[in-house]
Symmetry: C2
Subunit: 332 residues, 2 copies
DNA sequence: TCGAAAGATGTAACCGATTACACGCAAGAG
DNA sequence: CTCTTGCGTGTAATCGGTTACATCTTTCGA
């Protein structure tokens, strides 16, 4: 395999000139550049990036940590990150943590050993995850929560969830069920807070029996909805903390002989593609996945460049999407 | 940042001993290992993997190329690959090609520049993609087709699609629509072949007007189904080349006032999670995503080790999954 | 008791780039 | 004509590991 010395020999210039012709073309005369280019073509030279990265003490890759790649919302965000990273000469290392702090620690080691220049984490900081530790490397939280320390990008989950619950209230619903996500996940906490705020502003009581625990995946929505609709006085609307659980909930309600939205309204969160095509299409909250990637790369590259953005927070706008899974409360 | 020389100094041994203590512990005495361990703890040393990789001329990362990460079936396969890779000390570089050969070429350059040790590509070789070229590096195709040159892992798409169409025929359907994927994609070609074989074995004619072109994404299933159900003599069953298009098709048929499965049966392919929770749940073909990752890593590591597996093909079993989106043909 | 073999350790070359520094040369200022 | 400035180029040190080879010690059989 040819190296820079061979190219230099063939081009009749020094290795420094070859290196500069590739990395700092403006510092090299046109004649030299031409000679270098021809020599490169002749031996089909490709610079060894392992050597370059080693010398420059940078890996030019970013570790993207995600709790579950098969969550379609995360997939959208990752795609955006990946596109932006490639544009700026970075590679994306994928780390699926499966919500395991052991796997997460393993991945963080990648940065300590220089295999990644920084971490973009698509998850709110959970309470039990290295809460108070300070990180000495670029660490950015995407889809974070208000309690996230350090730089983060997020939507206002409290306000967004309050918004969608208020919408249900405006449809006349007074017994509104809630299907939560994983306990300990700050998104869960924020959205729960939004739920409570909406109830309280409307003068409705917070009834714990209307709250069922899920895990942000479809089947947990099924289980939770089954529980809720078997209550003695079941809710007439159910707000779910994400779209996947809402899809599961709709399925479970139908299986129990209930009509969505006429017997029970259901709402989601995230606006994944399937939400638009299920039956009925889901009323939900959309998060700007593409913008998240763009801003994430921007912040990450600034951090890698040495800029300190200790508490920089980007709070992006969310959008309410009304579809057919919600309807005014039936008068019984 | 501490390096191996500093650790050696503090431990009172040579750099070679430190290096061996980490990489070949069996070659070092227990006393030395203990001294090294203590020195490492003392200065919080982490080996610089960029240096190690550079020296060993390996990046210990694999490039996984996927046409679209937000396709839930690919997400499952990637997750499996990622788990297996981590187990064996490899990282996964994610490349979303978006079916663009330019992006694909850019990514292949990552291997030429040593930033990846091999490529696992989750796509059948399209006709227009570097068809005849020989690759000098480990290149493995997953979810490939019969026409893929070089090592690959796949299910028998022809037989699988023939199977599902035969099932529709066994339900009494004689006018069976087909929603295809992207033209030029060998999966599309293979599944079309299976469709034709099933018809021909049953003595049914191949009617081109029953074939509508899609692109393997939801909305294209909507469009195609709209076209099919507006035919003068519409099909009583529609086989879709993947689950996403089937989800879209079901939605479109319902919007046209048709009942699935009583007016029209619909089948998918891949067995994604949403297929089980849509209304009605999809009859489909399951591919063994987890096994694919296991076998892929196995083959890839053998290739990296220098083994030649020019034409090694792993053909994995598929499974027919009968659900409620299919029903016997209504007698009219 | 001696020699060979095995085991532990150290020295230093090496991987392939980047880049600080030195130098030569040409153009422009005084 | 000389001095300065700036551009283009080359030489060689450097990054932090790995490992071939040399050296020294210990063990064990003859």
């Amino acid at each position: 395999m040819s190296n820079i010395r061979e190219v230099a020999r063939i081009a009749g210039v020094s290795v420094a000139t070859v290196s500069r012709a590739l990395s700092h073309p403006e510092k090299v005369s046109d004649t030299s550049k031409k000679k270098v280019r021809e020599a490169i073509d002749q031996v089909n030279y490709r610079p060894n990036m392992l050597a370059r990265n080693f010398r420059s003490a940078r890996s030019f890759s970013l570790l993207v940590l995600v709790p579950d790649i098969s969550n379609p919302f995360f997939a959208l965000v990752i795609r955006s990150i990946e596109i932006q990273a490639q544009k700026r000469g970075y590679s994306v290392l994928l780390g699926d943590t499966q919500d395991s702090s052991i796997r997460e620690q393993d991945y963080i080691r990648l940065v300590e050993t220089r295999l990644a220049d920084g971490i973009i984490q698509l998850r709110p900081m959970s309470d039990n995850f290295h809460e108070s530790s300070e990180f000495s490397f670029p660490y950015l939280h995407l889809c974070a929560s208000a309690s996230t320390p350090g730089p983060c990008i997020r939507v206002d989950n409290v306000a967004a969830f309050e918004h969608i619950v208020e919408y249900l209230i405006s449809l006349g619903h007074t017994r509104i069920g809630l299907i939560t996500g994983l306990e300990g996940n700050p998104h869960t906490r924020d959205r729960l807070k939004g739920y409570k705020q909406a109830l309280s502003k409307a003068g409705l009581p917070y009834d714990e029996s209307l709250v069922a625990g899920g895990e942000y995946v479809i089947w947990s929505g099924v289980n939770a909805a089954n529980k809720l609709c078997k209550l003695p006085d079941p809710p007439t609307a159910i707000a779910c903390m994400n779209d996947e659980m809402a899809v599961g909930a709709v399925q479970a309600l139908k299986a129990n002989g209930l009509d969505v939205p006429n017997d029970v309204s259901v709402t989601g969160f995230d606006d994944i593609a399937y939400g638009r095509y299920c039956d009925p299409p889901l009323t939900t909250i959309a998060q700007p996945a593409d913008d998240m990637g763009v801003i994430a790369l921007d912040m990450m590259l600034r951090m890698i460049a040495g800029e300190k953005l200790d508490k920089e927070e980007h709070i992006l706008p969310y959008a309410f999407i009304g579809r057919q899974s919600t309807a005014p409360r039936k008068q019984s």
